[in-house]
């Protein structure tokens, strides 16, 4: 019988990609949508072909939070086949590779955590702040309030920095806990509101505690011309909590009346790489980055654009709207991937500010109808 040969035909066909860019996006969306993915030609023309250690570490992390995942990597590491399993969650501990900061891993976990079977409690060890990725402080200050807007709240939602570790040594420790949700609420975030206060954290480890104070002063000097309500905490960690490498940095958060958080951050160069930066310069630069971020504007800051879009996609089959600043390249690629995995396209409208209003640059209004995603792995009681 002809039909019998496709008896076990399950139609879940996979997607194929080339190159390792946007590696996390692909694996995350694959895990959420249940579609298998194949990534070929990973640095195949490179002198050192194949997956890097931090990517391998990321795959291992995914393996820890899922159940029944099938991962196949070829000999040279240039081809990766990923068949997602069920998001399981629970308590995990992961040694993040020091090539990338914990933010690299945490961003992915934040995207996955609400859709797990059990509430996630992840202890991530590694570099907490570096220059490549959004730091843990930044995610704590911006991603968590954003998640709350989508109905992911409750007492279980927290990012806690127990130890701070700077690049290149690492040695930091972050605890991320997140409750699970069955569905995500649609949002209408079209009005960012006016900035009412600016908060921030100036941190320093294994350097003089005075560094933090110097950063604070310089940052305030710039921001004070806009708003008086500025408070920048200084966070100097000592001894066991200070990780393995020296360094300092600043994270600035602008909070608006409508609960939008815009952020900027800057970290000193890692030990032994590049020239040393003065804390005053760092503070001033960081303040300017914040102003840039304010100029971009929107209801979601540029680092969390893709997170907001993902939650919109995974919402109920209702219209969600979010006003964003200019889309980052990462977000643009994320939108394409969303279309690949969920067949969802966003309506993208450019909003020009009024002539007389001085509210920064162009904004983009993103509108979509959610995919009607439900967290089917969450046990019903």
């Amino acid at each position: 019988l002809c039909g019998s040969r496709r008896n076990n035909n399950m139609a879940s066909q996979g997607l194929t990609y080339d190159g390792c860019n946007f590696f996390r996006q692909r694996l995350i969306l694959s895990t959420l949508s249940g579609k298998r993915v194949k990534i070929r030609h990973v640095r195949s023309k490179d002198d050192n072909p194949g997956l890097r250690d931090f990517e391998a570490s990321f795959i291992r992390l995914l393996d820890k939070v899922t159940n029944g995942t099938r991962i196949e990597i070829n000999q040279t590491g240039t081809v990766l086949f990923y068949q997602p399993g069920l998001l399981f969650g629970g308590t995990i501990e992961h040694e993040c590779n020091v090539q990338r900061s914990v933010g690299y891993y945490l961003e992915a976990l934040i995207m996955l955590a609400p859709f797990m079977k059990n509430p996630l409690r992840a202890l991530l060890k590694g570099v907490t702040n570096d220059q490549k990725d959004p730091s843990v402080d930044l995610l704590k200050a911006t991603a968590i309030p954003l998640m709350k807007k989508f109905g992911i709240d409750g007492d279980g939602l927290e990012i806690k920095i127990t130890k701070r570790g700077m690049a290149p040594g690492g040695g930091g420790e972050v605890l991320f806990t997140c409750p699970v949700r069955r569905t995500i609420r649609p949002v209408q975030m079209t009005e960012p509101g006016k900035i009412k206060r600016i908060r921030g954290t100036a941190y320093s480890v294994r350097v003089s505690p005075q560094m933090a104070n110097r950063i604070v002063d310089s940052a305030r000097s710039i921001l004070n011309q806009f708003i008086p309500d500025i408070y920048i905490y200084t966070d100097h960690m000592k001894g066991a909590n200070s990780g393995k490498s020296p360094g300092f940095g600043l994270t600035l958060i602008a909070e608006t009346l409508n609960g939008t958080f815009l952020s900027a951050e800057m970290v000193s160069n890692p030990q032994g790489q590049g020239e040393t930066i003065l804390p005053e310069d760092l503070g001033r630069k960081c303040a300017k980055i914040l102003l840039e971020e304010v100029y971009r504007g929107g209801c979601v800051d540029s680092a969390n654009q893709s997170l907001a879009l993902l939650y919109m996609t995974l919402g109920q089959q209702d219209v969600s709207k979010t006003l964003l600043g200019p889309l980052s390249p990462y977000t643009i690629e994320f939108l394409r991937h969303i279309r690949d995995f969920f067949q969802i396209m966003f309506k993208i409208e450019v909003k020009k500010p009024n002539e007389e209003e001085m509210k920064g640059g162009n904004k983009v209004l993103m509108t979509c109808v959610g995919a009607g995603y439900t967290n089917i792995s969450k046990t019903l009681k």
């Binding site: 139609a11 399993g85 939108l335 009607g372």
Partner: protein
Amino acid sequence: MEAKVQKKHQRKHSGRKAEKKSRKQNEQESDARKRNPRAFAVQSAVRMARTFHRTQDLKTKKHHIPLVDRTPLEPPPIVVVVVGPPKVGKSTLIRCLIKNFTRQKLSDIRGPVTIVSGKKRRITFIESGSDISSMIDLAKVADLALMLIDASFGFEMETFEFLNICQVHGFPRIMGVLTHLDSFKNNKVLSKTKKRLKHRFWTEVYQGAKLFYLSGMVYGEYQTQEVKNLGRFISVMKFRPLVWQTSHPYVLADRMEDLTDPETIRQDPKCDRTVSLYGYLRGTYMKNKSQVHIPGVGDFAVGDLSFLPDPCPLPETLKKRALNEKERLLYAPMAGVGGVVYDKDAVYIDMPGGHVKQQDNAGPTTELVQSLIGTHATLDSKMAASKVSLFSGTAALSQDDVEEDSMQQPTESHVWDPKTHRERRKAVFTGEEEEDDHDDDDDDEEEEEEEEDEEYNEEDENEVEIEKTDPPMKRLKLEQRKEMEETPAFADSDDELEKSEDDEEDEEERGTGNGDSGHCSEDNDDDYGSEEAESGTEDDDNKEISDMEEDVASGTNGQRSKASSGQEEEDEEEEDQSYSTAGSLRWKEGLAEKAAEVFLRQQRAAPNLRKLVYGTVVEEEEEEGEEDEEVGGLFRVSRPEKGKRRRADGLDCSRFEPDDSHDWEQEEMLASIRDCFVTGKWEGNTDAATLLKEDDEIYGDFEDLETGEVHKAPANNDDDDQAEGGSDLDHEDEEEPQVKVDDTEAQKNKRLEKKKRLKERFDAEYDDGDATYFDDLKEEMHKQAELNRAEFEDVDDETRVQYEGFRPGMYVRLEIPSLPCEFVTNFDPHYPIILGGLGGSEGNVGYLQMRLKKHRWHSKILKTRDPLILSLGWRRFQTIPMYHIEDHNGRHRLLKYTPEHMHCGASIWGPITPQGTGFLAVQSVSGTQANFRIAATGVVLDLDKSVTIVKKLKLIGYPCKIFKNTSFVQGMFNSVLEVAKFEGASVRTVSGIKGQIKKALRTPAGAFRATFEDRLLMSDIVFLRSWYPVTVPRLYNPVTSLLLPAGQKDTWTGMRTVGQLKHDLGIRNQPNQDSLYKPVVRQPRKFNKLHIPKELQKALPFKSKPKQTQPKARTPRDLQRPAVIREPHERKVAALLSALSTVYNHKKKASRVKQHTAHKEFLKQKDRAEEEKMRRLKDVKKKMYQLMGQKEKKKQKSSLKGASKD
């Protein structure tokens, strides 16, 4: 006698009496509460509280969780499934209903029949066969089930089975219909039967479920009035949303076309087919390229999804009361009705062939078709003369238009459809002359064809090769689309809007665009790629997006470069020069146009951004082409890495680097974000100043009581009015000069308005009415629903579909590649084809944990590891369940059989399905069984990729050496290693002595030392209780019943159970020898002697001491006495002595008896005397006591007297 004429009563109209009366009447009319306040007074607070609670309880009980209303504005036709056992009158009922609604007769009901039943409602009727597969499939898509019951017979199993299926898969509305009522001769029996059936039906569905009676047949049809009533019921019925149906898109296919290239079929008749299926989309939004499950076939990915004009549209105007004849449409392509059938790329005009031809009153659509056919010869001229809009929703076409587009006129070709066995006439657009000729031939043979269809099959198969000619407008669209695909996404990004606006311009531009499209596509791609690569690593400008657009535009042609590069600031333009020097030179000339262009570009920004994000489809294909270049099959051509490649391996980072071009030292930059802070300027309606002013208006007038000062609100009329609204102002300004009275009037009005506003504000703050949490939630949902409706309302369908997917209610065409050929060759329209959309990960397979209960009507219990056919979600599949039950400690213990009257767990390997989804199980879907077919029902509890079922395993060993509490045990394990694994495990003997495994022994292999809480015996058996994880067999076998040949579709058999296999093959189990019955042989029991230790014996009392039971040993000879032999004399003496002694003994005996009796007598006498003595004594005593008592009394009396005397 004369009747007294009574005076008529005169009512008083005035005076006291009248007043009294009117007062009384007034009282009566007034509120009862007022009239009798006592009756309404609070009697008991407790009681009042209780009644209040009760009403509140009842109120909240009615609440449902509010859900967002996602029903489309134009809903799909409702699905009415007609079910029942065979020969109950299902087809007749459908025929009657169709006739009732559309005045048309349909002789053969095949597949779904869609009709327009009213101004707002369409109905799809479908008949269900009595095989369990059809019943299961249709229960999942039904909105209403008409259950036909043969009243002369009573309920049949099919009815109950269907009810059970419905219960599991969400309960659609169910209406019972009793038929064959005319077979009852006796009226009383009839009414009794009706009542009995009704009540039984109610217990199954719900109390008061509607049961219809179709009393009899007239000329083979049900009575018109009854059918009419039934139709009315159906067309006003409301439906409850079912969870599964509202969360999954689905299509009940009413048409099927095979699109496979005939050449491939000729080469390999068994090749996989590409099939397009048509139907109304129901449920929820469906996305293109999504997965569907076709029950009875399998899972498939939709190759292409598109929507078509509604073949059965609702009437456009809703003013009339009833539908006119033209609007009573009937659409049933599988049954050969439907008139013109549109496809994406072709138009089919259906001939009423075969049986349909016999009907006289064909519908209006068919008339149109026939008239078209009749005027075949003059069609060209007619077409030329008239503007015909062939397709709904398109502009009217004239002959010129058609020619311009190099379109051909439609002629016909006959297509014998071997699947549906009917003749079709297809509108063919004369592309090839040969085909045309062929068609003419066919026309002549039209009549013969019916008889000789066999012969023509071959020929017709060629004709099935559909010339892909398009309807004029469709084609135009297609062309455009193709073009868009050819040219790179960015190249024509700008003229997207212009196209729709202006046709001529469009034409020109297309011409130029096509000319250099190939070139610029590459350019753009590279530019785009390199841009992105840079953005990932280096610091890049934040205006990257717009830059990209710019590069694209400047690369393509001058005109566009002008348009796009207009409004950029200077610093950015400098960057641009590196990319496009020529273009940038040109734009500097046209500075005048700049401003205008800026505006235009702003307008176009949205589609551009969209193109930027989503318009990159072409990339991948190009890349594929590159890689195939190989030299000699061994070496690959190595190319220098391009931008794209670098991007592919770029740094994966979500950070958006800030723009270097913004210098935040400069004052104007700082000023540009000034308003983002609370310290900046506010909008008019939220500005603090305006708000304050508004407040002043309201609260402004007040008098300081202490000082007596009167504060007035600023009397600036203009300001006030600005806050309130301009219209008021104009109005007032006009009136002011007129009259002074008007002025006061206006002020009064203003005050009133102020007051109203004040009150509103107060209400909003303090008194939120009866708004509860529930109301708020409802309100929120309502708002969301409104937003959902409004968001894409004014967008055209083509784009709307991209954003939200295909919405329910659309008539869609699903193209499915690689369907098995049996689906087409064995197609039978009597079996429903359902395309059930699958959600997120529902296309994957995994382990499912379910709660299952054997159906109480199923005769046998179910065995673990016996294959079972499950209906879960859309699917029907065979799988191997493992039954288990949860122990008190959370362990899932494997069960061999399902419990009889209890739920148990079941784990299967099957498709991932959301939790809470119900399922049912049958043991076989083939044939009809006498008894109830549904074996079990249940619900999905949990999904997991691993299972935790365990099975109890007892390992048995025997002691080989016993010390005090330590024993050596052997026979439990085979090696030292095995023992090592179980070190420390607890063991137990059958007699209940607990112990622990300590260490392995060297010999014999597998023996170990164990300690116990007591000393073992050699006869003890030691066992170790362990739990062994069981794996669930990975069998997922979809029931492919639709692929079976016609007529055998309900004979699907899957994997057989071991029992069935053995039965079929005649294999009998070799029974375990120990289990066989053998004659019972009982050995007589032997008991050992009881041995009591000497010490104990000594201590025992004599009674308990063991007695010398054995005879004494023979006395030795020396101790034996010699026998005495008497002399005769001695003998005599002895005799005498014995005689004497005998006498003496007798005497003694006699005297003893005598003495005994005498003594007895004596004792009696003595007793009597004693008694006598006692009596006498008693008497004496009595007398004495009497005397004493009397004395005492007297004494007392005298003493009393004495005392009183004193």
